[in-house]
Symmetry: D2
Subunit: 108 residues, 4 copies
């Protein structure tokens, strides 16, 4: 397994994966934003009928833990592919948002 776990490297591998299957025509911004929302729904589905207590213990069951990691991966995959096509740097966008929020919501 390639252990270079950085966002740009994963974006490169996702692009290579899509190109090898001729999936790029489907990867428009609008389609990727839809797919991201659909996958976020699938992640939420795991939690929808659980009490807060059950939801907090969700990783103690190996099958559910696998399902959580799988859906987290899908959400991240579409988010990174959307960022690639829109030329948005996701980590920089988040760092800038945290800074704006530090002004908007001063700590007590």
């Amino acid at each position: 397994m390639n252990d270079d776990l950085t966002v740009p490297e994963l974006q490169r591998r996702l692009a290579e994966f899509a190109a090898a299957r001729n999936w790029q025509p489907f990867h428009t911004p609008k389609n990727l934003a839809s797919a991201l929302s659909v996958e976020a729904g699938e992640l939420l589905e795991i939690f929808q009928w659980l009490t807060p207590e059950q939801a907090a213990a969700v990783m103690t069951d190996p099958d559910t833990a696998h399902r959580v990691r799988d859906e987290v991966a899908d959400v991240l995959a579409y988010l990174l592919q959307l960022c690639t096509v829109l030329e948005v740097e996701p980590l920089r966008a988040l760092a800038e948002k945290i800074e704006r929020n530090e002004s908007r919501f001063p700590a007590a």
Copy 2:
């Protein structure tokens, strides 16, 4: 600005931000999964009435480009906070998923 743009560093800053505002009680897995889904919807909202061509040009308008980066940041923020509370490593989860998909969908 802190320029250490890595996922663990951003997770640390998000946790610090939430702790300074006593927001941790709200950051249950179920609430974070809901918030992630809500923010993915806000990102999709930017594209919902656009033609594929308009959607592809969305970053040429500075205000819309800012809105896109802002919503990407919100989706990533909740995804990373969910990963923190569930002790999921998001980049590793994605790398493993890409490998599983390479077996499931062999390239032509």
Copy 3:
């Protein structure tokens, strides 16, 4: 106020409203399905940080109650418009689904 509160009558009023504003070109099935999902997210947003107890009391605050009714209306509006363009009868689809579920999930 027109008090004929039936699904077909509301579908007729929604179609008339869209036609009067030349919005039909935007009301493709794909766009309407996106808008429905976005509005369902806005409805969920009202509940996302609430405890189960707070969520159960959400209609006791007049402003929140208004917001709930407003988002319920938006979800229903896009669902009905999607059904109009796809020629799906929503109440019949639900009645048939309940019957299928009665077989799938026998009562104890």
Copy 4:
């Protein structure tokens, strides 16, 4: 098949169905709003990779048409159950929203 296809009658049947399976404890407003959002995502999933032209033809394939009706039913089921627990009248909420929108967006 019971052919009384009205919203109150379907709400009554959904409540009866849930009661016969002891599902009411799960049907909190927060859980139902989550489930509604998840099902709206499943409906969107049908359209996510389609071109606008393919999406417009989605009902010509019997299997896809069945899937669309099935997901429409699921969205409506959770919307109506949410309205039941919150004591919101969905058709009235929509009629009032259309009237507000007629003021907000005057026709050309």
